[in-house]
Amino acid sequence: MNESTPATAAPLARLIDELYKLPGIGPKSAQRLAYYLLRMPAVEAQSLASAIVEVKERITFCAICQNVTEIDPCGICTDSQRDRTIVCVVEEPLDIMAIERTQSYRGLHHVLHGAISPIDGIGPEDLKISELLNRLRSGEVKEIILATNPNLEGEATAMYLTRLLRPLGVRITRLARGLPVGGDLEYADDVTLSRALEGRMES
């Protein structure tokens, strides 16, 4: 988007160009953000800049669970209070945050960093699957919870992992699928509803 006229000073034009690269930011948003940053107090701008630099310098992936972390291995993997026999497999680091928020899971995690999507050329080799297999070698892990997203790619990934892990003799479970809290029964699609019926519980 380098058609910016000479009317824009070069440093500002560069900032607009950099902001434009961010997801969800169009040309107009980029300009607005750039002018906002320009008017910001210098201290705040400094703090934003250093936060960006710091995140790139200090954040790495945990060698065990592949989550983003400052110290390797990460806090969850080294926490002696947690149940080391259960591993919850998720697609993205953000999914760990969602599961941790529930405060009802005390096991370990494993991040795959994606889901199998054959049509987009994302195969098992692009995910952190061999790292997961390495973790299972010690025999400490007794249960794997497949917490991939309940969409086509997530289901494909879960089925692939089930196939891969079953011969290893660990217990493999899948997150239940059903009706969302706050949803309406009449709007539920038949797949969700039939899964909800299959997984009904004594009340």
């Binding site: 049509i119 494909a156 692939y160």
Partner: protein
């Protein structure tokens, strides 16, 4: 008169990609409007009433509102979810392969009722108990035919003489079978056994029910698949992503499950 602002169409969702915070861009295939991109707002939230109806490989009735760039899904209802597909990785990978082929072969916004029907029938067969590989071969042959790339199986694509009942060669770049005399001059031709040629002809000419009755052993099925695949790759000038996944599943299924 301008097209109505909100309109209804039946569609099969071919693929999807994420957009922004909670939206998705869906590539859908419709009978009257062909392939098109539509935007589905908010479908990545768990409270979305539409996400379950808009999963790839679902046949659904869509209500679309005209948008600036792409049309926006205003409402939807599942017509067929092909559920058995989603519970079996082998069938799922083949259905995704079919969706990828459609996505690569058909142009945007060009109506095609026969090809739409072919896709829906193929998904139904894959979700049923038919042999998935036979279903795919039939689908491949019909699709290239309907898209104007019918391979030549009767006369030599090199010299035009009648193909004899013997071992010939298949040359994807020449567009079909070539006779013994012509094969030396052609690049990329591979041996085509007489039986495989017969199977290819049945695939091209006969109905699905006739094709389903043909019994093939593993080696023959492999040969037919190889020739059709090489033909499709040469027409599209690119490899197919889902094909390599099917290959991988076969490899891992055949040998020891996994080396830990």
């Amino acid at each position: 008169m301008a097209a109505p602002r909100v309109y209804k169409t039946e569609a099969v969702v071919l693929r999807q990609r994420r957009l922004g915070e909670a939206d998705r861009i869906l590539v859908i295939y419709t009978p009257a409007l062909g392939k098109m991109d539509v935007k589905a707002r908010g479908v990545r939230k768990t409270t979305s009433r539409m996400s379950g109806h808009l999963q790839p490989l679902t046949r659904c009735m869509l209500q679309l509102a005209q948008g600036h760039v792409s049309d926006v899904v205003a409402g939807c209802e599942t017509l067929e979810s092909f559920q058995p597909l989603r519970d079996d990785l082998d069938r799922l990978s083949r259905a995704l392969y079919a969706a990828e082929l459609i996505d690569r072969f058909v142009p945007e916004r060009a109506h095609s009722y026969p090809t739409y029907r072919l896709l829906v029938e193929t998904l139904r067969r894959l979700a049923g108990s038919d042999d998935p590989d036979t279903v795919l071969r039939f689908f491949e042959m019909r699709l290239v035919d309907q898209c104007g790339f019918r391979p030549e199986l009767e006369v030599c694509s090199g010299c035009g003489s009648r193909i004899e009942s013997e071992q010939n060669h298949f040359a994807p770049l020449s567009g079909g079978v070539v006779c013994r005399g012509c094969v030396a001059a052609l690049a990329g031709a591979r041996v085509l056994s007489l039986n495989a040629l017969k199977v290819l002809r049945v695939l091209q000419r006969e109905s699905y029910n006739d094709v389903a009755r043909v019994r093939m052993d593993g080696a023959m099925a492999d040969e037919v698949e190889r020739h059709l695949r090489s033909y499709i790759v040469s027409v599209l000038e690119r490899d197919l992503n889902a094909a390599s996944f099917i290959e991988r599943l076969r490899r891992e299924g055949a040998g020891h499950a996994v080396e830990v």
